[in-house]
């Protein structure tokens, strides 16, 4: 009966392949999957899907799906009576993996370029069974990027099993790749018993290594700049409150945390609205204001009574930080809260095959730079900035010429706190938001400010970038924790050699 229907259907399944899939052993099944995929028939896709989900059963020579207690013949697609004695066609994990990549590979036939590209990328580590399919797709494919990808994948597969000539051709082709995966393939080939293949593989390996190394350095540099920008954001507010005003604010990290939670609240207000992605834009001023208001309240109520007593300030602000952490825990719960990335910040720019620059990092770097410029303008060009600098340099004289020093203190502290809030807003895009968010940054930001030299912004910028680079560079050698320890120990020794930091303010101020 099945044969009867077969003759009528325009797209027919390859009978021998289906039988191999149903009755063959593991390797035969894999082969069958490859053959079915190569046909590019939507029916084959349905068959494979049914196979992976365990719907495929057999009875004697008959092969059919069982769905909701009813049997459907594989070839005809028509319902058939459910046989009493049937056997499952068992799919193990290896087969399921093969089916998954096969189903992905079907997308190579898609009309949509992006879908084809995604399918080609997904195929890059598939098994050799996909080779016929890839060859077929290469015949049709016009897009150079997808062609390149498929070429590489096919070469990788040919390298694994093929004639000597085919393997050498494949090795030469692979030399043009910059995929970390091809490196392992070539390394394998480089220890091949055949000398010609060994020589070719080593040559190709050098080419690939060179290309990969460039990408690695680029990635490292970007990671360094990215970490530097985050350190800069976290430390910039402190450069004002500690660097300019001399207030040891241990609650600085908690002001960052408040900025992050303000962003979270704004996000929730925007949830469900059509312009959800714009919540981040709205969150920027709100996180600034939230942290600045808390900062101003702190300055007015606690910190102003402690000017000139740094150790007491340290203890009192630590107390404030504990209260703030617990307050946030009470309000929002002790668990981390979820802040989603807006769509325009997900994804990244592919610079090289092994380097992707994520958009959220790029946006944060730009954000840090713009905040830095804004802060510098504010300090250098506005009346408030003039007052702040005046009070920093000579409080008594500033007061004599009519600067309202105590109000300037409040404003300056509010400014520093607000910048911390902005840092918090940025951090929501790359990390967890929880009550302890700030604790992780307090030691780092103090070290950045102290390392850079107290009393000016330029030092903070250099210090943040240098520490960011140093951290990432060491990380690639020794792992994250050891890198962090090494940087901390370095700064500890550095401060002992140069207690004034990298860029000391030259002046007549006698240390007191």
């Amino acid at each position: 009966m099945a044969a009867f229907f077969l003759s009528f259907s325009a797209h027919a399944l390859d009978r021998s392949a289906v039988e191999k899939l149903a009755f063959g052993d593991g390797d035969e099944k894999i082969e069958a999957i490859g053959a079915l995929v190569a046909e590019g028939d939507p029916k084959a896709a349905e068959l494979l899907k049914g196979f992976a989900e365990g719907e495929l059963q057999t009875s004697g020579k008959q092969i059919f799906f069982v769905r909701g207690g009813k049997a459907v013949d594989v070839f005809s697609g028509k319902p058939v009576p459910l046989p009493a004695e049937r056997e499952d066609v068992v799919a193990n994990n290896r087969l399921r993996g093969a089916v998954a990549s096969a189903l992905g590979a079907f997308k190579l036939n898609s009309q949509d370029r992006n879908e084809r590209l995604a399918a080609a990328q997904a195929l890059s580590d598939a098994g050799a069974a996909m080779l016929p399919l890839i060859r077929k797709a290469l015949e049709r494919e016009a897009d150079p990027e997808i062609r390149g990808l498929l070429d590489m994948t096919a070469a990788g597969m040919e390298l694994k099993d093929g004639s000597k000539e085919a393997r050498i051709a494949a090795i030469r082709k692979l030399a043009g790749s910059a995929n970390p995966g091809t490196k392992t393939l070539l390394l394998e080939a480089a220890s091949d018993p055949d000398e010609d293949i060994r020589r070719e593989a080593q040559q190709s390996l050098r080419a690939v290594d060179g290309r990969l190394a460039l990408g690695e350095w680029l990635g490292l540099a970007f990671a360094g700049v990215s970490l530097g920008s985050i350190l800069l954001l976290a430390a910039l507010g402190l450069a004002i409150t500690y660097g300019l005003m001399g207030v040891i604010n241990m609650a600085h990290g908690e002001l960052i945390m408040i900025g992050a939670y303000a962003t979270y609240v704004v996000q929730n207000l925007f949830r469900g609205s059509p312009v959800f992605d714009l919540y981040l834009v709205a969150a920027v001023p709100i996180s600034f204001l939230a942290a600045a208001l808390v900062g101003i309240a702190l300055e007015r109520s606690v910190i102003r009574w402690l000017y000139g007593r740094p150790l007491e300030t340290l203890l009192a602000t630590w107390g404030i930080s504990l209260v703030l952490i617990q307050a946030v825990r009470t309000l929002f719960g002790a668990q981390n809260v979820q802040v989603e990335n807006p769509a325009f910040m997900s994804g990244g720019i592919q610079v090289l095959s092994n380097v992707v620059l994520p958009w959220n990092r790029i946006v944060i770097i730009a954000f840090a730079v713009s905040i830095l410029i804004a802060t510098w303008m504010l300090l250098a060009k506005t009346r408030l900035g003039l007052y702040i600098r005046g009070v920093t340099q000579n409080r008594a004289m500033a007061e004599c010429v009519g600067v309202p020093t105590s109000r300037v203190d409040t404003w300056a502290f509010g400014l520093g706190s607000g910048i911390a809030g902005l840092a918090g807003c940025a951090l929501t895009q790359i990390g967890n938001v929880g009550p302890e968010l700030g604790q992780g940054y307090i030691v780092d930001s103090f070290l950045v400010v102290v390392f850079g030299g107290v009393g000016q912004l330029a030092g903070t910028v250099y210090a943040a970038l240098m520490l960011g680079f140093a951290n990432k560079l060491l990380e690639s050698w020794s792992g994250a924790v050891l890198a962090k320890i090494a940087v901390l120990v370095f700064i500890i020794f550095f401060i002992q050699r140069r207690p004034q930091g990298l860029f000391a303010l030259r002046g007549r101020a006698v240390e007191t």
């Binding site: 040891i248 241990m250 606690v302 009574w305 402690l306 000139g308 007593r309 740094p310 150790l311 007491e312 300030t313 340290l314 203890l315 009192a316 630590w318 107390g319 404030i320 930080s321 504990l322 209260v323 952490i325 617990q326 307050a327 825990r329 009470t330 604790q439 030691v443 103090f446 070290l447 102290v450 924790v481 050891l482 962090k484 320890i485 901390l488 120990v489 700064i491 500890i492 020794f493 401060i495 002992q496 050699r497 207690p499 007191t512």
Partner: protein
Amino acid sequence: MTPKMVTVTNFSRLYGPRGWAILGTCAVVAFVVIPIFNLAVPASSPFHVSAFWVTLIGKIMCFAIVALALDLVWGYAGILSLGHGLFFALGGYGMGMYLMRQIGRQGQYQSDLPDFMVFLDWKTFPWQWWNTDQFWWAILLATAIPGLLAFVFGYFAFRSRVKGVYFSIITQALTFAAMLLFFRNNTGFGGNNGFTDFKTILGFNITSPETRMSLFCITAFFLVATLLLGRWIVTSKFGRVLTAIRDAEPRVMFCGYNTVHYKLAIFTFSAVLCGIAGALYVPQVGIINPSEMSPANSIEIAIWVAVGGRGTLAGAILGAGLVNGAKSFFTVAFPEYWLFALGAIFIAVTLFMPRGVLGLLARR
């Protein structure tokens, strides 16, 4: 800008007849009353002091030793160290290594190696563990390592005149770095989990009431000894120079004293005291892990001293008792409000009670 330190002159005489009477009473309570009410009075009696209280008071006495140590450097020499939690934890780890070796083959895996090493598939003890099955070596480690670290670190810091808040920040960074280091499994000290599940100490069962009480009494002895030694130091000429350094370091230097030596000596001594306290703490609470090194703990030590009253020695003990007593009470009764309370203590003490509780009492 020089920070004005208010010295409580009466207390620098340490102490009048009343002070000695109070100290004597406390010693009698610790050495006689509590042991009798814990061991001799049956558990059914309302006068029985339970194991919970013995452990709690023992723990607080360890903290009091740390507070005394910090008071010596902060209250008398004006150096606010935020690394005392590190010295304390190092002492604890020294003792912890010995206790881990004492477990022997009684661990879960019945191996000579501690369980966490079996778990990491290590075959032999790493070099840090050399000789740690000897009690005397563990004690040496627990005191010498913090002392050595403080000496080396202090030498560089004081020589380059790192002082005030800078010193606080870099000691905090040091503590933070050490905590990260101890969190690693490869460092060889059990990573996150640290050491726990101790069985015996010097052959005695570590959970038996008699062992607990002995540890309690040893701790009380060390606390009294530290107090008396501290009193001797601060009333000696050495202590007077320290006080002078705190109030006007340049002037002391111009008088011909090398202030580095004085500061280094008291800082190292203080670290050794912390190591001893840590070594006494671990067998009593039965666990040591890297969270003891968190920067928050070190700052809390400073607030114990501030609550009691800086530069009084007795105040440090009082402060450690008050804050930790409050902590034990809050974390049981209202766990969610403890951080509010602790934060409020920090703020209130610095704003309204710069001389601490003893300062309030002395003003009467």
